[in-house]
Symmetry: C2
Subunit: 413 residues, 2 copies
Amino acid sequence: MKVPVHRTRIRVPGFRFAGVRCGLKESGKRDVALIASDVPATAAAAFTTNRVKAAPVRVGIEHAANGRLQAIVVNSGNANAYTGKQGLRVAREMCVLVGRELGIDPKLVLPSSTGRIAVQVPLERVRRGVADACRALSRDAFHTALDGMMSTDAFPKFAAETLIIGGCEVIVAGMAKGAGMIAPQMVVAPSAKLERHATLLSYILTDAAVSLPAVKKTLKVALEQSFNTIVVDGDTSTNDTTVLMANGVAGNRALTVSSNQFATFCGAATRVMTALARMVVKDGEGATKVVDIHVRRARSVREAERVADAIARSPLCKAAFFGGDPYAGRLVCAMGYSGARFDPQKIDIYLEDLPVVRRGVEVVDGNAKLASSLMQRAEIALTIDLRAGNAVAHRVCSDLTVDYVRFNSDYRT
Amino acid sequence: MKVPVHRTRIRVPGFRFAGVRCGLKESGKRDVALIASDVPATAAAAFTTNRVKAAPVRVGIEHAANGRLQAIVVNSGNANAYTGKQGLRVAREMCVLVGRELGIDPKLVLPSSTGRIAVQVPLERVRRGVADACRALSRDAFHTALDGMMSTDAFPKFAAETLIIGGCEVIVAGMAKGAGMIAPQMVVAPSAKLERHATLLSYILTDAAVSLPAVKKTLKVALEQSFNTIVVDGDTSTNDTTVLMANGVAGNRALTVSSNQFATFCGAATRVMTALARMVVKDGEGATKVVDIHVRRARSVREAERVADAIARSPLCKAAFFGGDPYAGRLVCAMGYSGARFDPQKIDIYLEDLPVVRRGVEVVDGNAKLASSLMQRAEIALTIDLRAGNAVAHRVCSDLTVDYVRFNSDYRT
């Protein structure tokens, strides 16, 4: 995989950014972020499948339905979730304010929130914050905006890649926030099929010109390989949102799904989102390890996902990852209750390239030292070969640590 | 609920017990247990639904199929799970040895194991242990046998109740072991429908005479209200087993499903098993709290169970229980991703009798102190009223603590 370019100063032509303080966070840190395009952008958004959808998610679903967005307004410090009609009024008001300040239709504004659930947002503070953000917009404030949307994040998450599309240099840049309540199961809206959903907010911006079907397809393909594969705690949030905006100021002929270079663009977006997703796992609350779980030769994709998910969510497996114990028993147990069909006596399990189970027999003993040292690494890859079919799945999870419990027994998300 | 009588010395007429050491545990503690009836007993057994079934579970399913058992042989220190054909040989050999020593058909013997998965059992040690146990059988050794099956348990779990059936005093006595890898989903064998499964071993013994259909029905009814409602970590084990044996030495006319006193017997067995199940949660690895989750007015039992299970398994909810934070946000989030259908703006949530959410609005603020002090208790009851239908469900879970993670990152189950 091509490693995305991590720039310390990201600029995306035609986009301006802001991050300001309005007093939603007790810490006094930045709590309002704004992203605005100079022109309306072709846009698609994906949202949590949690039945309890935050007010900004409900408003966002409406506004994204037109396939065009010009601004994204985010507050941290309060999720505006489970806040009833008053919450909806606040989310709409945020869009109206941005619209008024920037002179655009409020329907071109998508709102997002992250922070505590079931607490009303103090409207006056947010109003002031949003107005300040509109006035602070700057081409160089990508990182300030990102700062304004962080909650329990230990570090900012961003990635970017430049590519040539139709002779024009374009950039695909992404920012994300998220560390806890992470098990994203997002679907591109509108969709009848709601399947998966975390408090994960991510915005992918490009100056390339891309058709709406191509934007939607890119978001869908990239989501399935990035945010929808990660698990920190397994709690799927009420607020997860990912937006892809293509404002076209690069001047290329608009990319369509059938363009030769569509795969190039989709690949770049996927790499950016995958890089962001891994950062979220790495920054998982209390996490010390990133574990890749590859399942292959399952009877169906659903069954492959069930096996990978069972391991990625099992408290016992995750505690073993933290402990660095190369012990297959807990993996096999989780696989067994996953609901997938396989013959336990046929499976192989690898830790990196080292076989730890072969044809149903634990074989780690001869390489116990090597296995132990592999388990001490910050990144671990497990491969599970079920020998039951042809389907594959991939999940990326963090470990379950003493600090995760300390943090979450002491903090209101 | 009538509180079961906890006797310090339990005797069950017609049953003898033993607990011995054979070197399976590094600690040198007792690791083989034996329960033997003087006469063949009417018996039913329920086993884990994990696809990876331990060797003793596979042999136990065969042996329990006849509805008659005379002995139960248990080893701790090794789960004999994921041990292939050699594991099956060991499980069968344990039955053969008991059969030979006691002069009974090996098919009347049910084997159980608990301990590490994916490690071969040292056969010679187990042989010696089983032979020693057969010679050590005693009417007074109920508690010694229980000692022999404990693994990560901090305290022994037993309960008993006496009742009059057909003019005869009979006893229903139960013992259980289990603290981790607990999310029992057991079904009475034989059954085509395998749905739920923990390393939980429990043996319920009575001297009452009970017909086989009545034994099976009692086990099924009691399981659904006891072990199948509890969650420690959510990891459903490869070894869960519950056995109900009725040896009839009390001399009552055999109880049938249509007997007037069937409900009395079934109620006693259910209370004994429910008491044992709560002890398992209380002894959950690292647990400091027992949390009852009652869901009512769901659209279906399945949906009520989904809501209760989502909360009982959510790392964020469980960490909040540990922290003692009366915060509804995480509950509502878990309910939202549970898959159950309800209107978030209609639900009520109670902490004990105190409303914390009413019609979708958090109302704890006025009673924040009371709510906080209720959350500090060792036993907490949450009631969730979905106002969506008529179905109910109940789950009992432990909290997720720093000690849980310490223990499980440091120990091979």
